[in-house]
């Protein structure tokens, strides 16, 4: 079987971490690289977190490269209220087995895409800074990108009334990506809020007898309390995990082909995605926008993946 080549560009982050864990369990995926970006936490932290997760699921041969430490134009802002001080609060992790690559994340993205014989799929689950910088530095690599399946945006916001965190944190980078002409699959808040880790889900995870599932359980427990505290949600939506799920099980999703643009100039609306579900703008579709999720199917996929890890 030909494996699908992916690059995970992320800011772990609880849901990024779980996304990596889900991806690592998929035999049909070939993770070319994990690159990190400032987002949920500062770049050193998100990079360390990526390495922790790689150790946890034994992704010892996947390059982990540290990417952009700040947004393209704006002041850096992180999200400790949601992910804790480390960016991955909750579980304890052992000492790291290795450090990050000397190669900058942006260069890893460019090199991997250029070197790959098959077209590469990008799975960005943090601010889009690295992807945008790669596109500016090496626009010719577009040709070898299969599609970008990203978590970000939506028809409503969570960080401002109209903007979602990943897009809001670097609107200029997001604009660059959305205007790039590369095929996009967008997992916005509309669909990621359907993927809530209920108590029932968390219990199922906790009952799986291996160390990976145990850590995921602890991640979800922390995430749950943060979402309760900050947004008064009953369970935490595992936003980023949907990008991986779509990659291997697109049949769990419905979506609509729409035009999406990113606001960078508003007084109040920077980082807002204008998602033309009604088709009122006359602009051509540039993205598949996730509408509905087969929630049970999604969690089945997750549980099944967690069970593949060997018992501790």
């Amino acid at each position: 079987m030909k494996k699908r080549k992916i690059i995970m560009d992320c800011d772990p982050g609880h849901d990024d971490a779980i996304a990596i864990i889900l991806a690592a369990a998929q035999p049909e995926l070939d993770i070319l690289a994990i690159t990190t970006v400032s987002g949920n936490a500062e770049i050193e932290k998100t990079t360390m977190n990526a390495l922790k997760v790689c150790d946890l699921v034994s992704l010892h041969n996947v390059i982990v490269s540290k990417g952009a430490s700040e947004p393209m134009m704006r002041r850096r802002e992180n999200a400790p209220s949601i992910h804790g001080d480390s960016g991955l609060d909750g579980p304890e992790f052992p000492a790291l087995s290795r450090s990050w690559s000397e190669e900058h994340g942006v260069d890893t993205i460019i090199r991997m895409i250029k070197e790959s014989e098959d077209r590469v799929t990008l799975l960005p689950t943090g601010p889009l800074t690295n992807i945008a910088l790669a596109l500016i530095k090496a626009p010719e690599m577009k040709e070898n990108i299969e599609e970008i399946i990203l978590m970000g945006g939506g028809t409503f916001g969570n960080w401002t009334p109209t903007a979602e965190f990943n897009i809001w944190a670097d609107p200029e980078a997001a604009k660059k990506v959305f205007d790039s002409g590369i095929p996009l699959v967008v997992m916005g808040l509309d669909i990621t809020h359907q993927a809530v880790a209920t108590d029932n889900v968390i219990n199922q995870v906790m009952n799986i007898d291996n160390n990976v599932a145990k850590k995921v359980g602890e991640l979800l427990a922390f995430f749950k309390s943060a979402y309760k505290e900050t947004f008064d949600f009953d369970g935490p939506p595992v936003h980023d995990v949907l990008t991986v799920a779509y990659c291997v099980a697109p049949e769990l999703f419905t979506f609509k082909e729409v035009n999406i643009v990113v606001e960078t100039r508003g007084e109040y609306t920077a980082g807002t995605t204008s998602v033309d579900l009604l088709g009122v703008t006359g602009r051509k579709p540039n993205a598949k926008f996730g509408l509905t999720l087969d929630v049970d199917g999604f969690w089945d996929l997750m549980i099944k993946a967690l069970k593949t890890y060997s018992a501790s």
Copy 2:
């Protein structure tokens, strides 16, 4: 009984027309003036339409003044796809019994507010051009405004993906009103889309045996087909009518006190209302934002009002 003094600033428009018809049937309301604005149709048309409705419900003593013929800063755009060429397509209306006042709508608003012994409530159901101009010309009149109950905005859009027509048509005017410090009640799309004239509702209206109800039935029939055609809605939401309903039956509504600001500078988001339902902005509430409507109670109010008109 002390009547509540209101000024209806509107762009009839099917739902504006029905709002006037509902208001005219309320003994506890004292309609000081009807002022018109360019919006659903050009100013001459919306003014003629206001006069047609006044004739229909015998509001012969209420001054009807023609207001702004274009937005403050933007190019004028109307909405014939929704309201037809006349702005009030559907029913036939007899020749008008009178013309509009010589006084400009903005001046009527200012004069009525200044002359009134009691504080006046404004019910704007079109673009906010007249209200903004009145505030610029006579800022001191703010003192005598009880509140502004307006139809506009919401957490999603209908004219662009993120903007509702009334706010989009004159964002600068809307900004002026939302930043004015005057108590605001905002009937946005979130709540007005709950007030859909279903076939059942339309049938009830049609079965009332008087000329006013007959015209309302014809208005709803046209409105239904326009909403079907343009937005693929099964029934038309009678947006503007909620301002009058709230005025006389606030118990039909739930709302939340939130901060709302209007975007005027975005590349894609001009006219977007940023409604801080999550309380993430730290900005002080400046509006009651309508959340839910007692739909049955609302239509009962409407049907009851229509029945008060004498049989033809």
Copy 3:
């Protein structure tokens, strides 16, 4: 002789005051109205100052109407560092002989233009709020406007590095005027900085033996010290006076027909006029932009006018 009908819309202000004094001495001008606006000082002050000047030069029959007390969209800011607390610091003026009209300045402008048999020339020498509001309220009056000769803008700024005070104080109003299609003559800083009241000029004025010249001398003396203090200029430029001078002696001026647009959205450049002297934008000319002034001729005109006033 047919007199040229003008409306002076101003915010006196030392140079506005001298502009009125120059105009009042011109037999070929028919001053239809003086309307005031918030600018150099608050609206009550600029209106009182206009009345003081009218008393000084016996313009008892010219209507003085109070206009806008704040800009269309921005926060009001005045210029006490240049014009003192009263807006017209320096001379003492006797008690006023009358108060301002009950008619709002915007309405006076509209009425005078509509009632005039001949086309009217507007001479705005403050922020353009009144003119913009008149255009929004009564766009049809455009037809009867001969031209607008205004003081404002330039290729450099005085209130910000790129914006001149009058335009900066209400950029939205300025945009409305510059985009109106009405013939414009623009006296920007490029040319008004040529009209500096040197010590020699001030001495000439002081040596004229009448009360009007005496007051002008005192105005110039105060203005000189303010310009020295704030901008380290050796003499004060009498900006606004050029609008009147152009009206009666256009031969003193050279100008270029250019396109001028007003920035309203910049982060740093609100109120900047983009004056296309090089013809690089491809936009059609909409203004005569003053380039050079016959400085001696200008001051001769002024001195001659001051001498027409009767000796005290």
Copy 4:
């Protein structure tokens, strides 16, 4: 003697070419790298042009790296009307002795700065894309930058009425650089327009008997005709050359320490530099802004440099 280490980031371009030629003749300068950017012409052309100039003046050991092929956020636009189709029209150049480095220009900038024992001075004479990208990718390198001496901006424009070409071509990059906190020396149009190659200057150059001077004469001849045609200038200003001249002979310049910010959001003013010469903004100085040039001294420096090249 300790040589001053410089990186020339450029888009040759006639004046960029002459700047390199001047720099190559300065014994006190150590050119660490020449990096290129899209600007006067497309990136391949400006890079080829840089290599042509290196061959001409025997800079065989200086790395030439190709940088950004497009601006950070905007559409690429070049300036063939001024520099011809090749970006360096006029002289004939022999076949290149080498190609550009495999290293991206942005990485060369970062590496050279990080590897240098002494602080490095940057001389950007094109759009600031490379510098901005380097700052985003490796913000820590700031520490080892001595200063940035750049050609760009001014109190007036040449590409729009208010914007100079280099800043206008990539305003976001310019904003990044101007807001970086790195010491800046800004050669804007105000001073570069003083460095006009008059016929007298061109004749002096033509009379120097070596191949380098001959090529410079041909470059100036073409540049002269382009400036005549496009801007109706009598002689071409050799903008970029001032950065090198300042580097070795700062005594030829007067400047003022001022605050300069770059507009990125205006409707008409993108790329405008707001140069606070009057000190009206209250913002802290971040740049030395060139005011006056010792024109004779400047051309003496240039002529002397050209004479150092060996006779053909």
